[in-house]
Every structure is written in C-alpha cells, then in structure tokens.
Amino acid sequence: MTKNFSRLTLATLLTIPAIVQAAPTRHVTIEQPWARETAEGQAAGGGFMTIVNTARQSDQLLSASAPVAREVQIHTMSMDGGVMRMRHLPEGVTVPAKGRLDLKPGGLHIMFIGLKEPLRRGTHVPVTLNFKNAGTMTVDFSVQPITAALPMGHGQ
C-alpha cells in the first residue's frame, strides 16, 4: 500500500509538480459549517463546524480569517459552578488522526471579532481555515437564526 502510494506520489511529482503544490491532498474536510446571526452593532459572533481528518496523523487548525470580521479567533467555553467562561486558544485546536472534532454550542467555536457588518440569517459568510498539515481552505458558513440550537436542515 505505502509503497504503491509512494510510487504514485513520486510519479505525480515528477510529471505535474506545479499542480501537486497548488492542490495538496485533502485529508481534512468540513461538515456543517454555520454561524449564529448577530444584531446590528454586535461586536462579535460565533461559528461552528465539524472538522473531519482522514489522515493517519493528527492535524491542527492553526488560525482562521474572514472578510466579514477584523479577526477570527478559535475559542472554547465551559461551565464551571454556574459560571460561563470563554477562552481564546491562540495555538488553535488539534484534530485527531482519523477522527473528528466538533466545534459546537457549549464548547469549541470560532469567534468573528470586529464584525464589519451583522451576520444576517439566511446568508453565507466565507471563512478561510488554516491547518498545519492540510493547508488552507475556504468554507462557506451558513448563518442561522439566533433561535437555532443546531443548524437547520440537520435531519429535518
């Protein structure tokens, strides 16, 4: 398997190196990216998704960016004795090898900081995700009503 794969990779590299560089194999895919709508003037908003990693080694979501916000940060939140805490994770988050990582309400999320305009329900906002191994990819986050606990259309 590995031998075949290496041979194939080598052959590919020899024949079309430019394309290989431009489009690395996608070991990471994003499922159900969504964001919560925000009100006029709201400084920040949250986004959620499931990251699926098919590679044999773990990967890391290092950073993210979006045209709609000054900055996108990776955050976690937790409940501790009736107190809500939210923390910035400057190093990003690890996605396990051959595994998935849920960014969902009640835990990990991305935070759109310094919104240039409100996130309006029914629209989509592009977000560029930067992974250590899988490289960068741009994903459309679907903006859901604030009353949604989960994205609409999920099992409906």
Partner: protein, 202 residues
C-alpha cells in the same frame, strides 16, 4: 498567590449557588404542599438598580414593579449560554400559553465596553418575543452585580481584548422585586416551567 481571590470568590459563589438551588427546590415543594410560601425577601438576591435602556434612557428597578420578571446577565459576544438562556425564556413563555404575558424578561449586558444600549436592544429583538434589553455604566453594572451576587470577571486576552466570565443562572423575581427562584443553565425544562408557573401564579 494572585490566584487566591478568584478561587475564593468561585468557591463562595458555588456555596451560595448550591444553597439557592436547594432553596428553589424547597420553595417548589412547599408550593405543592400548599403550605404558606416562605418569606422570599430573606433571600438576598435583587434590590435597587439603575441601568440604561435601549434608547439611552435611565431604567430603574421601579419600572419592573407590579409584574414578576425573569432576569439574566450576559453579553452579546457570549457564544452560547446567553442565546440559549434567552431562547429558553422565549420557549417557556410560549409553553405558559395565556400566562406567558404575565411576566417580563430582562437581559442585562455586563459588557458596556462592547454593547451599546442600542446594540442590546437590537440583540434582544432577534429572539422573537418582547425582552427588555439593558446595560449601564461600569458603576451601574457593579451595583446590580452586587445586588444579585453575580460572579462577573473580565479576563484579559493576550491581544488586549477581554472575555467576561459570568453567572449563567436566570433569576425569577416577584412583582415587588423579591427573589422567588433561580433557573440553572443545565436545569430540566419541566422544572424550569414549574418554577415559572409558580412565579406568575398560574
């Protein structure tokens, strides 16, 4: 060493919170036993406050007199607990049917640095049910934080911004501003509905 104060505060909060959860349960049982309700005013949550409404006008606790209310504290940047709690109040109001309009829902942003009065107003409008959105100056927020024994702590980030750790409970207050019960963030919806029924006298 500098870790001590937040830890002690946290521990204190836990104790108060546990005691109140217990008190809430006792209140409910007493209600079911048709025994006279205990003097809820003995329980030290609530009190006078002055905040700012969505139009930038002063809003005092006197404006809430005469009707029970549910009050929740948070900030619009809060990723999950705040929307969940306000959604929950909206759902509970629907579940109460005709009694759903017998109480007010109040949301107080404890983040005046990021949430203007207008923003808080626009934020509460997203929930599809009337919610009174308030915020205030740092001093005003400090006043109500003290009155409700809230844990509210600004946590600085490396980039100069900050997040806010805050109490996530919903306080149910009677028509004279007296504490009646508390709904914990993780509390079962039926239990929450029972507390609310008690609040509006349904």
């Amino acid at each position: 060493m500098s870790d001590w104060l937040p830890r002690i505060r946290r521990a204190l909060w836990l104790v108060i919170w546990a005691a109140m959860a217990l008190a809430g349960g006792v209140l409910l049982f007493r209600q079911y036993d048709a025994a006279p309700p205990p003097a809820a005013s003995d329980i030290p949550f609530g009190g006078h406050f002055t905040l700012i409404d969505r139009h930038g006008q002063p809003f005092t606790d006197a404006k809430l007199k005469g009707r029970p209310f549910a009050i929740f504290f948070g900030y619009t940047r809060c990723p999950d607990v705040c929307p969940t709690s306000l959604n929950r109040m909206a759902q509970l109001r629907t579940q109460l049917g005709a009694d759903g309009n017998k109480f007010d829902i109040v949301f107080v942003s404890v983040d005046p640095d990021h949430d203007s009065p207008q923003t808080v107003g626009a934020y509460v409008d997203l929930f599809g049910t009337p919610i009174i959105g308030l915020t205030g100056s740092t001093a005003q927020i400090a006043e109500i934080t003290k009155a409700y024994h809230l844990y509210v702590a600004k946590v600085p980030q490396a980039d100069g911004d900050f997040t806010i750790d805050h109490t996530a409970a919903i306080f149910l207050m009677g028509r004279n501003g007296e504490f009646v019960a508390m709904i914990d963030h993780q509390e079962d919806q039926n239990m929450a509905l029972a507390k609310l029924r008690q609040l509006v006298g349904a």
